[in-house]
């Protein structure tokens, strides 16, 4: 690899390369401008209007944003979404790390285990949800049969509004294969010599995990945290399928699985309130942005990159 010259204006060869690069990128750039940037910017404008898709948008200033603060459904959808992030994503992240640690041991049949834990990730969200609807069936589901066999209460997972979110979270654990595999890759990058050095100093397993493994894989945790939080706030398909396939209105029992993205969809395409939905989208954007910034800000304290002093 050639060393970069100190930046003092581009040389013609570099400029040439830039053009070729841009040329190859142009399909994406064009697509981004037309199909993403333009809609994003228009949605900002729509968020200040009342717009039903057909008649031209009517400027209403901040009304949509003001209405949101009054909208109980909007607030409960935000609560439901935050619930999933807090009680769903974080435990799932910890679980995936745990599994990755196990899969990082040298035992017989390791590749088989690795395959098995990754396999559910290959099932599409909709198919997986339909499968879990059966597993969680209150009367005949495998989950309740197992709970019943050991004398535990058998909740009505899909119809009791207190249990619908836990159902989705439970299902989420099943689909953590991607995070697990990525953690596994990160774990294998941790240099052996640290552990050897620690052993000589008399560190036990917990010390090694806490002082070596966790900091060493922190860049991966950082990445997962950001991706996971964004994903949590966009949570849609599973909740939609859960409600649909049990013949319930969108949002499920007592609107307990009315997530932010689902409510946004409902406003936009069922109620034709495009202005309100656009405003919701922007609030979502701001929330995700703030959370991401927060993670970035704190990252200097807990994310360690190899080779850093």
């Amino acid at each position: 690899m050639e060393r970069l010259e100190p930046r003092s204006g581009m040389r013609s060869r570099e400029r040439k390369r830039l053009f070729i690069g841009l040329l190859f990128l142009s399909p994406w750039i064009f697509g981004f401008l037309v199909f993403q940037l333009y809609p994003i910017i228009t949605s900002l404008y729509y968020s200040f209007t009342e717009y039903n898709l057909f008649t031209s948008p009517q400027w209403v200033g901040l009304d949509n944003y003001a209405d949101m603060a009054q909208d109980g459904k909007m607030l409960s959808s935000l609560y439901n979404t935050a619930f999933m992030a807090l009680f769903g994503f974080f435990p799932q992240l910890a679980y995936a790390l745990g599994i990755a640690l196990l899969l990082n041991q040298s035992v017989k049949g390791l590749s088989l285990y690795r395959t098995i834990y990754f396999l559910p990730t290959l099932v599409p969200a909709v198919a997986g949800s339909l499968l879990w609807i059966w597993l969680l069936n209150a009367q005949y589901g495998l989950v309740n049969q197992m709970l019943g066999a050991i004398g535990l209460p058998e909740p009505n997972w899909l119809m009791d509004e207190n249990w619908t979110k836990p159902s989705l979270i439970l299902m989420g654990f099943w689909g953590t294969g991607t995070i697990t595999i990525m953690y596994l890759a990160a774990l294998q990058e941790v240099p052996r010599m640290y552990y050897e050095a620690a052993s000589i100093d008399g560190a036990n397993k917990w010390h090694k995990f806490w002082h070596i493994t966790l900091p060493a894989i922190s860049p991966m945790t950082f990445f997962q945290l950001i991706m996971g939080l964004i994903g949590s706030f966009q949570y849609f398909s599973q909740g939609y399928v859960f409600a649909e396939s049990s013949n319930q209105a969108i949002g499920g029992p007592g609107n307990s699985i009315l997530f932010y993205a689902i409510y946004l969809f409902q406003n936009a395409f069922m109620f034709l309130k495009m202005g309100y939905a656009s405003a919701m989208a922007w609030i979502l954007f701001v929330i995700v942005l703030l959370l991401t910034l927060l993670i970035f800000k704190t990252s200097s304290r807990w994310v360690f990159y190899g080779g850093e002093k």
């Binding site: 898709l53 209150a138 009505n156 013949n247 209105a249 609107n255 034709l272």
Partner: protein, 438 residues
């Protein structure tokens, strides 16, 4: 050299851009319709329907016959155009000339100016709308103005019951009043030693919470025709409260648990066919194969409140609508096609193929239907389709939000979290300002 290179790059970029825009315009053209003069000077128009696969056959067949019947218009049909695609087409510039869709799309889309009012056409041609079943036609009206015509209708005005379950419980005739229905439900419900329900007589909100059917049974309404919402009037509240009786009697948790274990409708585990559930609201197109004399499912008129015998034969109507988008280019031709589809013979054939009810009152007495063994499971539906107590939900721009709100509040009431009156008051409090705005 450098300049030359940049110029070249620029040209390549331009070319690429051009290629892209061509692809794009081709895309939008494909969905376009723009009835162009077809073969032999005929006008070609487009009809979109949301029906898929087998369900699209009846409309395709009817249109094929129309195309043969005359020499001026060629109609091209495009099926599987769901709600979203229809919405995109009529809000964008390339609307088809006729759309066949769920009736409740007419409200929001017409209030937004995307649906052509038919009043002008009707007046100009002196088209007789009184030949259409009123409950079906009413669904096409928004603020008393006709925006579409029904092509077919479905209705729920019967009670289906599992004959064997009745026999085992010693019940010889179906219930006549709602009070009897409740008593029957108690008799037909069984529990196991642990107190779990193993068989149920009737679940008022199975397979879904029905905000339209139940208030109609009690002669309720949702607006007074001049913008005042009436969902919290006595009849509507009674309709919710009646359903709550079942939850009070059998217990919310027990019913929910039982419900979650029931198989899907019309699957081999169907609760009516397996006898797990003895009675259900009867739509004309459910259990067709299982209804009739020697079959397992019995059919009876849906019960009425004992105190209101005048409400006998009440039921809910849900039509399929056809309309002309206001941006359609060939509205006159489209209007002709719609009239053709409402011809008596066309209606009869269509309803036989589709397994639905024709929307023309006179077709209901036509021997091609009433003496046709092929559709004998529908005979009592044809007869009862004449009943003036048939109704439906009023169409409006806020219809989907209104229905959703009714659903949410009814659910709370059924769960016993609030009273029926509170639930319906909540609905009106939330929806009246929205109704006033439009």
């Amino acid at each position: 050299m450098k300049r030359h290179y940049r110029k070249k790059t620029f040209h390549v970029m331009l070319l690429l851009l051009l290629a892209f825009t061509t692809v794009l315009s081709a895309c939008s053209g494909a969905g376009g319709t723009a009835g162009k003069p077809g073969e032999g000077g005929k006008v070609e128009i487009q009809l979109w329907s949301s029906a898929t696969a087998e369900n699209a056959k009846p409309i395709e067949n009817a249109i094929a016959k129309f195309n043969e019947s005359q020499d001026d218009i060629v109609v091209k049909t495009l099926s599987n155009q769901d709600h979203q695609k229809q919405l995109t087409a009529i809000s964008g510039g390339s609307a088809p000339d006729i759309i066949v869709t769920q009736w409740n799309n007419i409200g929001p889309w017409s209030a937004a100016g995307a649906v052509q009012s038919l009043e002008e056409f009707i007046k100009r041609d002196g088209y007789d709308t009184s030949q259409i079943i009123p409950a079906a036609l009413d669904r096409m009206k928004v603020n008393h103005e006709i925006f579409g015509l029904p092509i077919s209708m479905s209705m729920a005005n019967k009670l289906f019951y599992n004959k064997q379950a009745f026999e085992e419980a010693g019940l010889t005739a179906p219930p006549e009043t709602l009070e009897e229905l409740f008593a029957y439900a108690k008799k037909l419900t069984k529990k196991d030693a642990k107190g779990n329900i193993t068989q149920m007589g009737f679940i008022p909100d199975y397979p879904w919470i029905d905000n339209v059917f139940w208030p109609i049974i009690f002669n309720g309404s949702w607006d007074d025709g001049s913008g005042k919402l009436t969902a919290n009037q006595e009849a509507n509240v009674k309709a919710i409260d009646y359903q709550m009786n079942y939850y009070r009697e059998f217990g919310q948790e027990s019913i929910d648990k039982f419900k979650s274990g029931m198989g899907g409708l019309e699957t081999p585990q169907d609760p009516i066919l397996t006898g797990k559930l003895s009675m259900i609201i009867g739509w004309e197109n459910w259990y067709v194969e299982h209804r009739g004399e020697d079959k397992e499912v019995g059919v009876a008129p849906f019960p009425y409140p004992a105190a209101n015998p005048e409400l006998k034969g009440s039921g809910m109507v849900s039509p399929i609508a056809m309309f002309i988008p206001s941006k359609a280019k060939h509205q006159d031709e489209a209007w002709k096609v719609m009239q053709y589809l409402l011809g008596e013979d066309v209606q009869i054939e269509y309803s036989i193929e589709f397994g639905s009810i024709p929307v023309l009152t006179k077709a209901l007495d036509n021997p091609k239907l009433t003496e046709n063994q092929e559709v004998k499971e529908l005979w009592d539906y044809y007869e009862s389709a004449k009943n003036p107590n048939l109704k439906g939900f009023p169409n409006s721009i806020y219809i989907n939000e209104y229905l959703q709100t009714l659903n949410e509040e009814t659910e709370k009431a059924l769960k016993g979290q609030i009273t029926a009156q509170e639930a319906m008051d909540n609905v009106v409090n939330k929806m009246q300002p929205i109704a006033d705005k439009k």
